[in-house]
Symmetry: C2
Subunit: 519 residues, 2 copies
């Protein structure tokens, strides 16, 4: 017994707090730092995503300059500069030097940066692999501030290595981050170039200049029209868990339950609130802080039972069918393009929306279809096999739309399938944000969107097929025309030449008819 | 410009800290709480893993009582009780009510609990879905302490709802945790029962009593022999990143560099330490805290250049070939079993080891081989497609060992493939701990282990095949024996019966020879 107690004491002595920075430093592959190639991509990606998000929030047409330069073997200097609103100097240390710190986590609103981890992850990875601080240059149009920041990993706190202020006569505003990281630069499928190319597809209003080891490349704006700003919404009663409801009851400023329900939730009017209170058998004038455990459980159940409108969807900002096709056309040379933006839907109380665009024919390869996945306007390059988008694409019966497809596989090309998922909360399978989890509501909507687009494309394919068939018939017929004309001429005693011309005109008529025909 | 400044101010106002408890509450699917079925399994699993780990650390033969009871539709009460060392009362609140708190994270030693998240995740999920606190009953042999604990999610701090002490005349020691969670109970492949069955396979010294919705089932001990206790080791120089080295230099108690290198690392003796200092051009007597940035970079590089022995491997505790076969035999009825425990190897400076056991024939199905994955004696039931084990199994050419196999697929049975990966740091692909990341060193070792085991099994399969061929030849021959005997009798004028007997004896001799033959 004393021996057991000794062991328990010994075990207790070893127990201690783990800082979240330590946790992600050691588990950096959760964040996408799993090998040199992907690590370099992740370090670049996080800065670009941030820049796009904050320029968009400030309604500024983004111009983003990305530089990647090898400084010694296996080490790269990455810098990303934008023309966004900048970060006020007081916030710089925490915004770049503290893991789990940010503005989007607590908001219900489509955003590229959900976790408050991204750029800090790059900072962690930089100091781990090269020992160098992250350099941040920023201005809101007043002075220019330059910081060097590291993270105190055991405390998850920023360390400001240096900070200097400069005059800013040209009133520049924006943000430039620079870090040195271990990595490997590659071309091809999961490359930085491909990442930027795909980013440009669904952010056609952005200009991105990539100055990399292979030279400079500019991805030009395809439109000057900024996307609609998504608006923050309140949580919907159907999407709130009991534990969260209890926290909301404690922290609300509302003085009574009816105020709490109408102000803290979306789609709850006075009538619905009264109904909920009645069902829960609690007085609508009760102070939220005084609602006890049993009552909160009844309240929770009542909230699920009352019929309410779906949450508002102005929290979402899809690309739209027109811009999707614009984006695809810019990057893929095909014969035909179709796009479908589905109406918004809801999973676990979170509004979401699915868009699909298909490109067919042209220079696309005849092998497996190219699958291009996005979430909240960010390309997903890794973990394709683990993503609900892939699952949905494989489960659609593409043979209906004129494609070959083996069981549980992508259809065969020439086809590119672009799927864009937007939501106030993307259920990524991990912090690396490369695959979306398999929620049945999401799966269903993606499948429907693919089928809508597939049907649309099938019309074109059928039309093309019919035209080809007619063309074939005509060419065969034309080959025998002189013989036919000769024979008919002999039978009717008319000139073969004349008959031939008449026959030719007949065929041309059919051809015109064929090409104007709708499938 | 002023407008821009206004936006930057507004954005700044929204930035705030995100508690790690909030983070995992919202991203609970990272921890395995992604749907009701898996959530219930995860809640049970975390408690069992904990109980096994701490009874083993205390060198106690574990007896673990697991209860799962439906209390209303979609809600279950889970309780797991062990006979381990217990937790001292001072540590209970943090050990169960604070995410990222634990004893294993900072240690290099094979352990089931790596992250300091598991049981707190269950606590988070319980209070989120049912609003109920976790109940903890524990004793180290002295008094019995009963706690009810919740987590203050926004602060990531424990809230002790209640705490009472009782006398303990029988000197009971152990730990019992109990919580109520939303979930769904299922049978079959990814069920709680299957989880416990597989746990029993690689922990044959444990007794697990499962009292579930379908009745009580006892998984008995197959051995009373406890596994070898893994010993904590120091980090190996090859596995330390620059950023971590710098932290170690700052926090060490060693007074000079030579002391630092020999005491804080494994496999660095006085000679190697001197070599490292010489290569790095730093005096061995320099105080570690005084090593500057450039010097630490040189030191880091020098540490990678000096030839050192591989890290010690007593930090690992594989199951061993004998016990693996014992475990497989207990749960799968097959004709033949083979097992291979490979020698330890190293990835990123972390020692690891791979074991493979194969079961063949018997009651195993002739379809796709059954793949049974483990890491540090814990079964992995989800994300099979994402796991390096699966990748390695698919890339082995099983046709060499007598199996059918399509490209990039599991071989066809009757075959069960058990793979066990042990390491001081398992590179799981996510916090849910269900798949191992694809490190080339790990992939290679798993493949080698599979090939070793495959070759071993192939010998048996060839032998069986030969025996079957001989048996076939013999049976054909036997069928014609009377005719042959008759004919020979006529030719030699001897009695056919006599000849028949002689011939039969000849064949039996061959049969005996055949069955003792080695392939």
């Amino acid at each position: 017994m004393d021996e057991i107690n000794g062991i328990a004491e010994k075990l207790a002595k070893d127990m201690k707090e783990i800082s979240v920075a330590e946790f992600f430093e050691k588990n950096r592959h959760f964040l996408g730092y799993e090998n040199p190639t992907r690590s370099l991509l992740t370090a670049v990606k996080e800065a670009i995503d941030n820049s796009l998000e904050f320029t968009c929030q400030a309604n500024i047409l983004p111009t983003i300059k990305v530089k990647v330069k090898e400084i010694e073997e296996g080490k790269y200097r990455v810098s990303v500069e934008d023309n966004g609103p900048g970060v006020i100097p007081e916030k710089v240390p925490h915004a770049f030097g503290r893991v789990l710190y940010g503005s989007a986590f607590h908001k219900l609103r489509q955003s590229r940066s959900l976790f408050g981890i991204g750029i800090k992850g790059a900072c962690l990875y930089a100091q781990l692999t090269t020992g160098k601080p992250i350099k941040v240059v920023t201005s809101t149009g007043k002075k220019i501030h330059t910081f060097e920041i590291m993270i105190d990993v055991t405390k998850n706190e920023p360390i400001v290595i240096s900070h200097k202020e400069e005059e800013n006569p040209s009133h520049w505003h924006g943000l430039k981050v620079e870090y040195e990281v271990a990595g490997r630069y590659v071309k091809g499928e999961a490359s930085i170039q491909e990442y930027i190319k795909r980013t440009a597809m669904v952010n056609p209003f952005a200009e991105i200049i990539f100055d990399g080891p292979d030279g400079k490349e500019t991805f030009k704006r395809a439109t000057e029209k900024m996307p609609v700003q998504p608006i923050e919404i309140k949580p919907h009663p159907y999407g709130v868990q009991l534990g969260v409801l209890r926290r909301m009851l404690t922290s609300t400023k509302a003085r009574n339950l009816i105020g709490f329900l109408t102000k803290e939730f979306s789609r709850v009017g006075r009538n619905s609130a009264l109904k909920i209170c009645k069902l829960a058998k609690i007085s609508p004038s009760k102070r939220p802080q005084e609602v006890d455990k049993d009552e909160s459980e009844r309240l929770y159940k009542a909230m699920q039972m009352v019929k309410l409108a779906s949450p508002p969807t102005n929290c979402l900002s899809p690309v739209g069918e027109e811009d999707l096709i614009l984006g695809l056309k810019k990057e893929l040379k095909a014969d035909h393009y179709v796009a479908v933006t589905r109406p918004p839907s809801v999973y676990s109380g979170f509004p979401f929306q699915v868009e699909v665009a298909l490109a067919y024919g042209g220079e696309l390869p005849p092998e497996n279809a190219i699958l291009i996945r996005f979430a909240n306007r960010i390309p997903l390059l890794y973990h394709q096999g683990d993503c609900v988008i892939t699952k949905a694409v494989k489960e659609v019966d593409w043979r209906r739309y004129g494609f070959s497809q083996s069981a549980n596989s992508l259809p065969l090309g020439p086809l590119a399938i672009l799927v864009h998922f937007v939501s106030v909360w993307v259920p990524f399978t991990s912090e690396g944000k490369q695959a979306i989890a398999n929620y049945p509501e999401i799966f269903k909507e993606i499948k429907l969107a693919l089928q809508d687009a597939g049907r649309e494309l099938a019309k074109y394919i059928r039309k093309i097929k019919k035209m080809k068939e007619k063309e074939l018939r005509r060419s065969i017929f034309e080959r025998y025309l002189p013989v036919v004309a000769e024979a008919v001429g002999e039978l009717t005693d008319k000139k073969a030449e004349e008959i031939l011309n008449k026959l030719k005109n007949m065929i041309r008529g059919e051809k015109i008819e064929g090409s104007s025909e709708k499938a």
